[in-house]
């Protein structure tokens, strides 16, 4: 009997220790299949009472949507690692193709909180999240805790402008990640070089990128000319057709001129109800398609970590 009690006590102690360990260590090392609650593998089974922690040995690139090649992943990881080491930044690139019913803002925020990406006393962190969920293809830059003061709406807008062309026009996700990393690097370089930096100190311009020597985010002039040409072609065609119509004969198709107006008599009008159909469609989700994106300050969902975040991005 004593042996059984000891065994049960030891088992309970082991279980309690494992739970504690689970809360304190990054969950990213786990198997990538969904957990038993149907949430992603890195999501805690119980989020009640969650508090931010500093994770260790965290990866800089988590490509769960598998859109980057091994080489791209290595280059991006190297780039972010150098930023993190030089400026002590909590920064990660993350992709996924399933939001598990959450909004991209909450999903990316939870990713930072639950994996312990926050750094320093303020547990600040930022993620560039590329979402390929078929119901909501988008990108989000989400900052948590102390980083919310850095990644303001204006900064988010500048980031969106920076990566927009690569994602929406070229479909080059790797380029977008690299541009994002460069932007974050420049931003933190500026912060470290400026005493008591505030977002007002930032000059809202972006240097020409290293890939194509173009102004990042600014649509190509060829696009404007192309769009104008299409409008011109349509307008020219409509004008030509209207001019040609004037050259043709248009015979009347009715005999309205010969209808004796007073002769019209309604003999019978009958209206019978047949049936009713009611259809319903889910209302479109509000997605941020312009600057800044959506900004949240608190969680109310039971799935969330309980922390705060700011997030910006666009759909594609």
């Amino acid at each position: 009997m004593k042996k059984i009690v000891c065994f049960l006590f030891a088992a309970a102690l082991l279980f309690a220790l494992s739970i504690t360990a689970l809360a304190d260590t990054p969950l990213l090392s786990s198997d990538k299949s969904d957990n038993e609650n149907g949430m992603p593998y890195w999501y805690p089974l119980n989020t009640r009472g969650f508090e931010d922690f500093h994770g260790e040995n965290l990866p800089y690139v988590v490509d769960d949507a598998d859109i980057l090649t091994d080489e791209e992943e290595a280059r991006l990881s190297e780039k972010i690692a150098s930023i993190a080491e030089e400026y002590g930044v909590g920064y990660v690139a993350f992709t996924d193709d399933d939001l598990h019913g959450l909004s991209p803002e909450y999903y990316s925020s939870d990713f930072l909180h639950f994996n312990g990406y926050g750094v320093g006393d303020g547990y600040g962190a930022v993620v560039f999240f590329l979402c390929l969920d078929p119901s909501d293809r988008c990108w989000r830059t989400t900052a948590i805790n102390s980083y919310e003061d850095i990644f303001t709406e204006d900064i988010m807008y500048e980031i969106d402008e920076t990566v927009d062309y690569s994602i929406r026009s070229k479909g080059d996700f790797f380029e977008a990640f690299m541009l994002h990393a460069e932007y974050v690097e420049n931003l933190f370089r500026e912060i470290s070089a400026t005493e008591n930096w505030t977002p007002e100190d930032h000059e809202y311009k972006y240097e020409r990128d290293e890939y194509e020597g173009r102004s990042v985010g600014a649509p190509s002039p060829v696009k404007f000319v192309g769009a104008g040409l299409i409008v011109g072609l349509i307008g020219g065609l409509i004008r030509l057709l209207s001019l040609r119509k004037k050259m043709k004969i248009v015979p009347p198709s009715t005999a309205n001129n010969y209808l004796l107006r007073d002769s019209y008599v309604v003999r019978n009008r009958r209206c019978d109800y047949l049936f009713t159909t009611v259809t319903r469609h889910e209302r479109p989700k509000e997605t941020s398609s312009s600057s800044g994106g959506s900004h949240g300050s608190s969680f109310s969902s039971g799935h969330s970590s309980g922390g705060s975040f700011s997030s910006g991005g666009r759909s594609f």
Partner: protein
């Protein structure tokens, strides 16, 4: 009704309907219930067909067979047109093909028309109308207006059949009323379906269809309207200085064109009774003709033939109102210039606007 019950289909999903002891026809597929009387009425409408019987209208047309007296009959050797005029008018050219015409004394005058609208505008006014018609036609070849052929314009009394008839029709329509609302998650659309039937009657008077094979039907139709209040009984004196074409197209050939125009108008009028519905789809249109009659008349038309680049362009001027109808030649060069100019001009403006607004 019970004999046909098995063939009744649900108006909503087309599944077979079943008679329920409650007295309704029930669809087991979509659970809708219908009043048997309504379903039977729908079925009965679906099986009916429209009737367009012009009956013995010809009796009203040729009851006395009177001919035009003391006329001179000309025949065109080229196109075969037979035109007549009075003894004082000398005609040398066919109004349709501009070839020589000859007098024949073997033909008697044509059927005396039931009425004629005399020419109200003179030749000079008709020429001015044609010149006005050319104005603003930006694709017209530059040298087309310079052709000195306008003085060849000829006044011709064109034979027309005037169709008079009543339309007694029923239109059966599938009509809907749509209501929409939303809550926090969904947008809802409620569509109520109705069977709407409207029966009405109306009269048409004087639908003109030209009775000459020489005149293009579309041109003559587009030349309308004529003011019938100025129609007078035929007198050969009206032929003085003008030619009169003889009808060579039987009313039977012209009836389908009159029918089509009457049905379109009648449907449009009856359909306006359903303006309080969101959507209306015509399920069945049953239009029947009543008290049809036909009248043979001559209407005044100036005809001008212009030969341009080996193609004949015929213009007709309403001899009463001055309205001009005729297909015009299109300059390919001008077409390309206009298209290119508008494309480049509009494209440049659109590009600049796009640059300033979206850069």
């Amino acid at each position: 009704m019970s004999d046909r019950l098995e063939s009744y289909k649900c108006p909503s999903c087309s599944a077979p309907l079943r008679y329920d002891p409650s007295g309704k026809l029930v669809c087991d597929s979509c659970s809708n219930e219908y009043d048997p009387e309504v379903i039977e009425m729908m079925d009965s409408y679906d099986r009916q067909e429209a009737e367009f019987d012009w009956g013995n209208y010809k009796e009203s047309l040729t009851e006395n067979g009177e001919k035009i007296e003391d006329s001179v009959v000309y025949v065109c050797r080229s196109c075969g047109a037979t035109v007549e005029t009075d003894a004082t008018t000398a005609a040398t050219r066919c109004p349709y093909c501009e070839n020589e015409i000859v007098i024949t004394d073997r033909l008697e005058g044509g059927l005396k028309p039931g009425g004629v609208i005399p020419f109200k505008i003179d030749k000079n006014r008709a020429i001015a109308s044609v010149m006005d018609h050319f104005k603003g036609k930006k694709l017209l070849p530059g040298n087309f207006k310079d052709l000195h052929t306008l003085d060849k314009i000829k006044g011709v009394y064109v034979p027309f059949w005037l169709f008079n008839a009543g339309m007694d029709g029923t239109m059966v329509m599938d009509a809907t009323k749509v209501r929409m609302w939303s809550d926090s998650r969904y947008d809802y659309t409620e569509t109520r379906h109705f069977l709407l039937s409207v029966s009405g009657s109306m009269d048409f008077e004087g639908i003109p269809v030209d009775a000459s094979t020489k005149m293009d039907n579309d041109v003559m139709d587009a030349l309308e309207p004529f003011d019938y209040s100025e129609m007078v009984p035929f007198d050969p004196v009206y032929l003085s200085g003008f030619l009169a074409d003889r009808f060579d197209e039987d009313p039977d050939v012209s009836i389908p064109r009159a029918n089509e125009r009457m049905v379109n108008s009648a449907e449009s009028v009856i359909r306006s009774e359903a303006s309080d519905f969101t959507t209306v789809t015509v399920r069945k249109s049953l239009m029947n003709l009543t008290h049809p009659t036909v009248k043979y008349v001559l209407l005044p038309v100036y005809v001008l033939n212009v030969n341009y680049k080996e193609k004949n362009y015929r213009f007709a001027v309403n001899g009463q109102t001055g309205k001009v109808v005729g297909e015009l030649p299109i300059s390919k060069l001008k077409s390309w210039l206009y298209f290119g100019g508008w494309t480049v001009g509009l494209g440049a403006i659109a590009s600049l606007l796009a640059y300033f607004f979206f850069r």
